[in-house]
C-alpha cells in the first residue's frame, strides 16, 4: 500500500509562563518570568496509507490538534520528520497546499460577513480549480450535505451545523487527496453529527481520500475509522484497529441471563463465571472464545431461562481503561 503520511520521532514543545493567582503576583510577573516548557507532542511516529480513515483519539491537551497543525504546516516541529504526499509540510509549498485540507470545528475559514458562496468562489481562485471541476464538486457537495438553501445566506446568520457543513464544502472544492479533520462534529446535535459522519464515509469510499480525524465522540471514530491512534500526554499509547483494541483491552463479553425465578447461589456456583446477581437477572463474564459454548450450556441446562443477552463492553469504557492504565 501507498504510504501517504509518514511521521518519524515528531516532537513539539511549547513554552509558557507560570503565574500564581492574584494581582500581586501579576506585578511580580511583570519583572520576573520563569519560562517553562511543555512537550505537547513527544517523539511520536506513525504511518497512514492511501484511502485510510484513521481516528486520532485522546483527552484534551493530548497533542492531537498540535499534530494536525504540524501535518498541515502551520506549526514548526522542534524535532522529527514529517512527510505528507512526499512534501515537507513545514515549507508550506503551494503544490502541497493544493492537495490537502484542514477542517477545524472551532475555526472559521468562511468570510463572516458574506454568504458561504463568496468564500467558495474565493477558494476556487485560491486553489486554482477549473470552472468545470468547481461546478461539479459544488453540486455534489451541496446536494450530499443538503445545504442548497443556505449558501446565499450571510455566514454569521447560519447555525453551527450549517456553518460546519459549509466549512466542509469550502475545504473539499479542490478535491484534496488528504483531509485533516479536527473535531468536525464538536458542538453539533446528534442528527447533524450523523449527517456529517455519513457524508465523510461515503466521500471516502467514492474518492479514496485519506482522512485523519480527531474527535471526542467515540461514535465518530467507531462509525468512520479503520484504524485508531490513541494519544495521551503527547505519546502514542495505541495504534491499531478497533477490533484489536477490543480484544486487547476487553477480552471478555457480558452474558446476561433472565430466569423465571431466583436461582440459589449454590446452583449458580456450578455455572462458574458469575459476575453479578440481581434477583432473577444474572450477569456472566465470559472470554470471547467461550461465549458460544457457554451460552449453549446455559440454554441446554434444566435451569428456567426466560431470556439471554450477549453484549460487548462499550468502547468508551475501554478507552477509559486505556487512559487510566
Amino acid at each position: 500500500m501507498n504510504k501517504i503520511i509518514e511521521v518519524k520521532n515528531l516532537t513539539k514543545t511549547y513554552d509558557y509562563f507560570k503565574k500564581e493567582p492574584g494581582l500581586k503576583n501579576s506585578f511580580k510577573n511583570l519583572f520576573k518570568r520563569k519560562k517553562l516548557f511543555k512537550k505537547a507532542v513527544d517523539d511520536i511516529s506513525f504511518d497512514i496509507n492511501e484511502g485510510e480513515i484513521v481516528g486520532f483519539l485522546g483527552p484534551n491537551g493530548a497533542g492531537k490538534t498540535t499534530t494536525l497543525k504540524m501535518l498541515s504546516g502551520i506549526l514548526t516541529p522542534n524535532k522529527g520528520e514529517i512527510k505528507v504526499l512526499d512534501y515537507n509540510p513545514e515549507k508550506r509549498e503551494a503544490e502541497y497546499q493544493r492537495q490537502f485540507a484542514l477542517v477545524m470545528g472551532q475555526k472559521n475559514q468562511l468570510w463572516w460577513d458574506l454568504p458561504p458562496m463568496e468564500s467558495f468562489l474565493l477558494n476556487k481562485e485560491i486553489y486554482g480549480v477549473s470552472k468545470q471541476e468547481f461546478t461539479e464538486n459544488l453540486d455534489e457537495l451541496v446536494k450530499a450535505l443538503k445545504i442548497e438553501d443556505i449558501i446565499d445566506k450571510q455566514v454569521r446568520k447560519l447555525s453551527l451545523g450549517e456553518r460546519m457543513k459549509s466549512e466542509l464544502v469550502a475545504s473539499l472544492l479542490h478535491s484534496p487527496k488528504v483531509l485533516f479533520l479536527d473535531e468536525p462534529t464538536i458542538g453539533l446535535d446528534v442528527i447533524a453529527q450523523k449527517n456529517i459522519r455519513d457524508f465523510l464515509k461515503k466521500y471516502n469510499q467514492k474518492r479514496k481520500t485519506t482522512i485523519l480525524l480527531t474527535s471526542h465522540y467515540m461514535e465518530d471514530i467507531v462509525a468512520l475509522c479503520d484504524r485508531l491512534i490513541i494519544i495521551n500526554e503527547g505519546k502514542i499509547i495505541y495504534n491499531g484497529s478497533i477490533n484489536d483494541l477490543m480484544k486487547k483491552y476487553a477480552p471478555n463479553k457480558m452474558i446476561t441471563v433472565f430466569f423465571e425465578k431466583e436461582i440459589s447461589a449454590n446452583e449458580l456456583k456450578k455455572l462458574d463465571k458469575v459476575y453479578k446477581i440481581e434477583d432473577c437477572k444474572v450477569l456472566f463474564k465470559v472470554s470471547r472464545e467461550e461465549v458460544k459454548n457457554f451460552a449453549t450450556k446455559i440454554l441446554s441446562s434444566d435451569l428456567p431461562v426466560k431470556d439471554i443477552e450477549i453484549s460487548e463492553v462499550d468502547v468508551d469504557s475501554i478507552i477509559r481503561n486505556v487512559f487510566t492504565g
Binding site: 502551520i74 497546499q97 460577513d113 458574506l114 486553489y127 473535531e183
Partner: protein
C-alpha cells in the same frame, strides 16, 4: 492574480454591508476637523501669520490631513495582531495564498471604498468651506499628489503591518500599536505641520519614512514645495525596503506561530 482581485472585491462588498461603521467614522473625523478649525481660527485672531502659514493655508492643511487620515489609516496592525493572537491566521496559512497579499488586497478594497465615500462627502464639505481654503490646482501637481498619496499609503500600510507582525514575539501589541500610531501621527505631520516644529525634528524626519505619509503629499497639493522627482523616489525606496523587511519579519515570526484557540 485573480485570487487577490477577488479578495479586493469581497472586501468592498463587506464594507458596503457595514455602512453605519463608515458613516460614523466620517462623522467623528468631521467633528475633529471642526475642533481644529475653531482652534486655529481663534489662534489666528491674535496675529495674522504662524510660521509661513496663513489661516487659510492652515485650514487647508488640516482639511487634507483629515481627508487622508480617513482613507489611508485602516487599522492593519490591530487586524494582523488579532489574527496572530486569536489564531485565525491559521486558515490563511493553510491555503496556497500569501498572507501579505491577502492582507493587502483586503485593505486595498477598504481603501478604495473609503476613498469613494469620503471623496464625495469631502467635496460637499469643500463647497461650504470654499472661502477659507486655498486650493488651486494644475495637472502636474495633481499627478504628483496622487502618486505621493499612493506611496504614503503603502508606507503606512507596511509599517503598521510590521507592528502587527510583532505580535509573533510579544503576544499582544495593543499598547505598542497605540504608541506607534501617536508617534507616527506626529512625525508624519498630522498633528502640526512639520515645518513649524523645532529644526531638529524636521531634520530627523528627513531620515524617516513617515513624513511621506502626510506632510509630503499635502505640501505638493498646497504648492509649498518644488515638484522634484526625489519627492517620489525617496518614498519609493522606503516602500521597497519596508516590503523586504516585512517579508523577512514574517518568515522568521511565523515559525513562532502557534495557532491558538483550537
Amino acid at each position: 492574480m485573480s485570487k487577490y482581485l477577488l479578495i479586493f472585491y469581497n472586501s468592498i462588498q463587506r464594507s458596503l454591508i457595514y455602512r453605519f461603521n463608515t458613516f460614523s467614522l466620517l462623522f467623528i473625523q468631521i467633528f475633529v476637523f471642526g475642533v481644529f478649525f475653531y482652534l486655529w481660527s481663534s489662534i489666528y485672531r491674535e496675529g495674522g501669520q504662524i510660521g509661513n502659514y496663513s489661516l487659510g493655508e492652515m485650514v487647508t492643511y488640516y482639511f487634507l490631513v483629515i481627508f487622508l487620515s480617513l482613507i489611508i489609516k485602516a487599522d492593519v496592525a490591530w487586524r494582523v495582531g488579532d489574527e496572530i493572537r486569536l489564531g485565525t491566521m491559521t486558515t490563511i496559512l493553510l491555503r496556497p495564498i500569501s498572507y501579505f497579499g491577502y492582507t493587502f488586497s483586503r485593505l486595498a478594497g477598504e481603501i478604495v471604498f473609503n476613498t469613494a465615500v469620503y471623496f464625495s462627502s469631502f467635496l460637499i464639505l469643500f463647497l461650504f468651506l470654499k472661502d477659507y481654503l486655498n486650493i488651486s490646482l494644475n495637472l502636474e501637481q495633481v499627478s504628483f499628489f496622487l502618486v505621493s498619496v499612493i506611496l504614503g499609503t503603502a508606507i503606512y500600510f507596511l509599517f503598521f503591518y510590521m507592528v502587527g507582525l510583532s505580535t509573533f514575539w510579544f503576544g499582544f501589541v495593543w499598547g505598542f500599536n497605540f504608541t506607534m500610531s501617536m508617534i507616527v501621527s506626529f512625525l508624519e505631520g498630522a498633528v502640526i505641520p512639520l515645518d513649524l516644529l523645532p529644526e531638529f525634528i524636521t531634520r530627523m524626519s528627513n531620515f524617516l519614512p513617515f513624513k511621506y505619509i502626510m506632510f509630503t503629499p499635502i505640501s505638493i497639493f498646497t504648492k509649498r514645495t518644488e515638484l522634484t522627482l526625489d519627492l517620489l523616489i525617496i518614498p519609493l525606496v522606503w516602500v521597497i525596503a519596508l516590503y523586504f523587511i516585512s517579508l523577512i519579519m514574517f518568515k522568521i515570526g511565523v515559525k513562532k506561530y502557534e495557532g491558538y484557540g483550537a
